[in-house]
């Protein structure tokens, strides 16, 4: 994680790297972040003044906080922009985006004479971040998002898998809910699978097993075997 730069309180410094830095000032109410779970990545940002619209932005893991003598703090997180369109969003203090893949590195200096909670707008170029389709990001949990970030080639395949499953639900007239998570063997150190979980409502389990077979058969047949080994579909009773 990047160390918090000691800086004059009049200046906010943002490095575009694989972490985000949002310096707080000594007159802020200090917030303790001690684990990734402290980040409510589908709702409001824990600093309170910073609000991300639900289902539009996600943050995942790598969360940590360093308190410096100046009471600055650093939150390291990844923002995953699911939309393909450029985004405009409001920030308090200063907040911006970066990616793990491209890691653009630059420094922005902004005078903070307006106070610690001034608002500003930043338009993000869509080319600057990993693109996770909105529909996929909506059903993904943190572990799945991390896996997609580390293996970006899975994104398009996972999207096709999900779209294919949705079509099959429609064809079969099923009421189902989906989630995207990861599966890791508890007794192995191997990299896990990205797992599309499907819960079907109103069907006995014996029938669900047959539906599972149909779903497996209807999945994109051109998925390379190496991708199939990383991408699984698991069906269960809701």
């Amino acid at each position: 994680m990047s160390k918090v730069p000691k800086m004059p309180q009049e200046t906010l410094v943002m490095e575009y790297a694989d972490t985000y830095q949002s310096p707080l000032h000594s007159n802020n109410e200090m917030v303790t972040i001690d684990s990734p779970s402290s980040l409510d990545y589908t709702g409001n940002f824990v600093f309170g003044e910073f609000t991300l619209p639900r289902k539009h932005w996600f943050m995942s893991s790598k969360t940590s906080l360093q308190i410096e003598p100046t009471f600055s703090a650093t939150l390291s997180a990844y923002l995953i922009k699911p939309s393909l369109r450029p985004h405009t969003f409001n920030v308090s203090n200063f907040w911006s985006e970066a990616t793990r893949i491209e890691r653009p590195l630059r420094t922005v200096r902004h005078p903070s004479g307006l106070g610690p909670f001034f608002e500003m707008q930043e338009t993000i170029s869509p080319s600057a971040s990993i693109q996770i389709p909105h529909q996929l990001a909506e059903i993904a949990d943190e572990s799945a998002l991390n896996m997609l970030l580390s293996e970006a080639d899975l994104i398009s395949h996972a999207t096709r898998l999900y779209e294919s499953a949705l079509r099959e639900f429609s064809n079969l007239g099923l009421s189902a809910e989906c989630s995207l998570t990861s599966y890791v063997e508890p007794e192995s150190e191997e990299v896990g699978n990205l797992l599309l979980g499907v819960k079907i409502h109103g069907k006995p389990y014996a029938e669900i097993l047959q539906i599972w077979d149909k779903l497996s058969m209807s999945l994109p047949s051109d998925l390379p075997a190496e991708i199939q080994k990383k991408l699984s579909i698991v069906v269960d009773e809701a």
Partner: protein
């Protein structure tokens, strides 16, 4: 040689005798190993050397699933993961099942899923 399908019979007998949580968890674990070991022995026919070379026993679960995909049985591979998740829940997660009904559903579904996997493995 021990027949791994006996684990399934054992689970079905056991759950008929008691319905407490430790019995349910044990049954789910045995159903997974009935399915996994049956699949492993099928795979051993095609990949005996590779299977023997695996250094960690923990890696053989994914190895078996991946070889099933190589042999165009992604459906069975997926179902093994589904049963493995139930087994991991039963063996590692100490949070109680939400209700007796949920616990019973988990056991009966695990048994059905195991039977289904073993049936599908006959075509491998």
């Amino acid at each position: 040689m021990f027949n791994p399908e006996d684990f399934l019979l054992f689970a079905k007998n056991l759950i008929g005798q008691a319905s407490d949580e430790k019995t349910a968890r044990t049954c789910i674990g045995r159903t997974y190993y009935a399915a996994h070991l049956t699949a492993r022995e099928k795979i051993r026919r095609y990949f005996p050397t590779e299977l023997q070379k695996l250094e960690k026993k923990g890696d053989e679960h994914k190895f078996v699933r991946d070889r099933l995909i190589d042999r165009n049985h992604a459906d069975i591979s997926n179902k093994l993961i589904g049963l493995a998740r139930k087994r991991n829940r039963a063996d590692y997660n100490l949070a109680n099942y939400q209700s007796l009904a949920e616990q019973q559903k988990e056991v009966t579904n695990a048994i059905q899923l195991c039977e289904n996997i073993i049936f599908l493995l006959k075509s491998v």
